[in-house]
């Protein structure tokens, strides 16, 4: 395949609503979202297990809406692996090849290759029931890879593994994808998996795409308040306030001027309305004295959670609980504190939760 992109546009009211998505060749794309957001449906649409009720799906420049899964040359790893329980590991891996009428010698050669790649050479004669979760996972991967599909679809493949195995498989999957260079679409609700493996992450929420971006950008520049809260742990703090005169009024907690804030838009300095000011816990600093310059938000310490490497301080600001991540707490309950942050680390969202972007022209002014 060359010079190809897949154009995907499907609409299905409850599950997916008007998705526009493009996947480049050899890309590792992760669809990330909470459960029930329609990400699995999106994957099944691509696989051809569902037909779109509206819109079209293209592989290369060809519309595949009406094509059956078997004609799409996709391989899929299911959440529960879907290994055929009555076949041995070898038969499982051989099955897609057998269906495609690949001669036995070729089959054996490819099985050997793929089992070596996945370190399951020793298990080929066992039945799926005798394998551990991690091994089953590898067999499912092997069965998908052995086909040499044009698209590789994975539906929450790691969710049934324990934490340690999951981490191991994560790096292994990444390695495999790099080596094989197969276009991969990976569905997960685990943001760590998404961030660590993806070239691009698609964040989905209630059936729509919230943002498509590489992991770093997703973190550094969440497009909506929802994505902001979803990505990062602990989640981003959102201070509710009213915007007026180029500043955000946070009530008793003080006022934040928007001069240098990332999300502010100088043009609209006169704009007013309810907004949320977002700052990540790790970008907030805490001090007991009011700072001499810059923005500060006033609050009271509610609880301190020391976690060894760092501590989380929960500060009550206008009845809102705000989390601050600090290396050393140094404060106690009921202390009066001031939260400061760099202007570049703050984001401003309008009442719809959309990021207010600074236009390029605004920057130069």
């Amino acid at each position: 395949m060359d010079g190809v992109s897949k154009y995907f546009d499907a609409g299905e009211t409850v599950a997916n609503y008007r998705l526009d998505l493009e996947v480049a060749d050899g890309e590792f794309l992760v669809i990330l979202g909470p459960s029930g957001c329609g990400k699995t449906t999106a994957l099944r649409l691509i696989a051809g297990l569902e037909t779109p009720s509206e819109g079209d799906i293209y592989f290369d420049d060809e519309c595949v809406n009406r094509r059956s899964p078997s004609d799409r040359n996709v391989a899929m790893v299911f959440q529960n692996y879907a290994l055929y329980p009555h076949m041995s590991v070898r038969e499982n891996i051989a099955y897609p090849l057998k269906i495609r009428g690949i001669p036995p010698d070729e089959r054996d050669r490819r099985i050997e290759e793929v089992t070596e790649l996945l370190h399951i050479e020793g298990q080929v004669d066992k039945h799926p029931g005798e394998l551990s979760g991690g091994q089953r996972q590898r067999v499912a991967l092997a069965r998908a890879i052995v086909r040499e599909p044009s698209v590789f679809l994975l539906d929450e493949p790691l969710s049934n593994l324990d934490a340690k195995l999951r981490q191991e498989m994560r790096s292994e999957l990444k390695r495999l994808q790099d080596e094989l260079d197969i276009t991969t679409i990976y569905v997960t609700h685990n943001q760590e998996e998404a961030m660590s493996m993806a070239d691009n992450v698609v964040v989905m929420y209630r059936g729509t795409i919230q943002q498509i971006a590489p992991p770093e950008e997703l973190y550094a520049r969440p497009r909506t308040a929802w994505v902001a809260r979803f990505i990062g742990s602990p989640p981003m703090n959102l201070f509710r306030g009213t915007r007026r005169n180029g500043a955000v009024d946070l009530g008793d907690a003080g006022t934040v001027t928007l001069d240098g804030v990332v999300g502010s838009d100088l043009e609209a300095d006169t704009a007013a309305g309810d907004v949320s000011l977002g700052v990540r816990p790790e970008d907030l600093f805490i001090s007991t004295d009011p700072p001499t310059d810059g923005n500060a938000i006033e609050g009271t310490v509610d609880t301190v959670e020391p976690l060894g490497e760092y501590a989380l301080v929960n500060v009550s600001v206008n009845d809102q609980l705000v989390t601050v991540k600090v290396s050393d707490a140094g404060v106690e309950r009921d202390d009066r504190v001031y939260l400061t942050f760099g202007d570049d680390d703050a984001y401003l969202y309008d009442e719809n939760g959309e990021l207010l972007t600074r236009t390029a022209s605004a920057k130069t002014t």
Binding site: P69, S70, F78, A82, Y84, H86, Y95
Partner: protein
């Protein structure tokens, strides 16, 4: 009661579990739970079976056991043309004897009803309203079998029977006859009736086996490129195969016990000139219609069990 003795006797032997008072309490509890049910079970089920097994080696004066005669009853029974009629078997003419007819019934009934049951389970599997369709097919299995027999009588009646009407409609009027009373074809007519009833049951078993298959397996096979036929051959069939053993064995047990249908159609004689008698009918006639021959009745009933017992043991082994 021997059970209670046994348990009480073992009371002291369980020192390893510790407190002997605990064991006593357990033994009493066991007895309370088991004895009432197992006593009735022993008296009215196990006892009569043992009685028949023993009695088959004795001579009988009506209902009273006389003297030990060894295998006499057994030899006599197998030489009886009512059980196996060698001459007619050679000429393939009914009556061939109840045992032969019963086995012929098995040979026809079991494979056909199994295939039909599987076919219907597959056919109904993903249709809307499948519950209603399944219930319609299964309905016959809930109806008293004596009614089934009478319904067959009705269906095959030369005037009032819908089957003969069907023959007339398709232009096969010369075949019209009273099917259940024609010695050479009646058994096939009744076998068809048996299949009609049992298909519903087999369908039910296959349906539940099919719905137990993880749908992602089928989807996975679809993605792997398997068409409907391959999906059935490679995935569905191997996964419902264990149920087939159950279906086949239950079918055999059902046919070996068949009684009501034959009784309804042909009375205690098992049709004109016993032409479709089965083993159950022979037991009844030998035991409860003069001349009473308890010895033969017991032998025939034991034959019924012996044919089925290894199969039942096979099912038990499977679990």
């Amino acid at each position: 009661m021997s059970l209670r003795d046994h348990i009480d006797g073992l009371e002291g032997g369980h020192d390893s579990t510790g407190d002997p008072a605990f064991d006593r309490e357990k033994a009493i509890a066991l007895a309370v739970f088991l004895v009432p049910g197992m006593t009735l079970f022993g008296i009215f089920s196990v006892g009569p079976i043992v009685y028949s097994a023993v009695g088959s080696f004795f001579s009988w004066d009506a209902f009273t056991m006389q003297s030990f005669v060894g295998l006499d009853n057994w030899f006599r029974t197998f030489r009886d043309p009512l059980i196996v009629h060698w001459e007619n078997i050679r000429q393939y003419r009914f009556p061939m004897g109840a045992l032969t007819q019963n086995l012929l019934w098995v040979v026809l009934h079991v494979p056909i009803s199994t295939l039909l049951g599987l076919g219907m389970a597959l056919l109904f599997a993903d249709l809307r309203g499948r519950r209603i369709l399944r219930s319609m097919v299964f309905l016959g299995f809930t109806v008293p079998t004596i009614v089934i027999g009478l319904v067959l009588l009705f269906v095959y009646d030369p005037q009032a029977g819908v089957f003969n009407e069907l023959l007339r409609v398709v232009g096969q009027g010369q075949l019209v006859r009273n099917w259940t009373q024609s010695p050479q074809v009646a058994i096939y007519a009744l076998v068809a009736g048996g299949i009609w009833v049992q298909t519903g049951f087999n369908m039910l078993l296959y349906s539940s086996a099919l719905s137990a298959i993880d749908p992602s397996l089928i989807e996975s096979a679809k993605v792997d490129g398997a068409g409907p036929y391959r999906r059935f051959r490679d995935i569905i069939w191997p996964l419902v195969k264990p149920v087939t053993a159950v279906v086949v064995i239950m079918g055999i047990i059902w046919v070996m016990r068949v009684f009501d249908i034959v009784y309804a159609a042909g009375g205690t004689a098992g049709g004109p000139n016993h032409s479709y008698s089965v083993l159950g009918i022979e037991v009844y006639r030998a035991a409860f219609e003069p001349p009473i021959d308890y010895g033969k009745a017991m032998v025939v009933a034991l034959v019924q069990l012996l044919i089925v017992a290894p199969l039942a043991a096979y099912i038990a082994r499977m679990n």
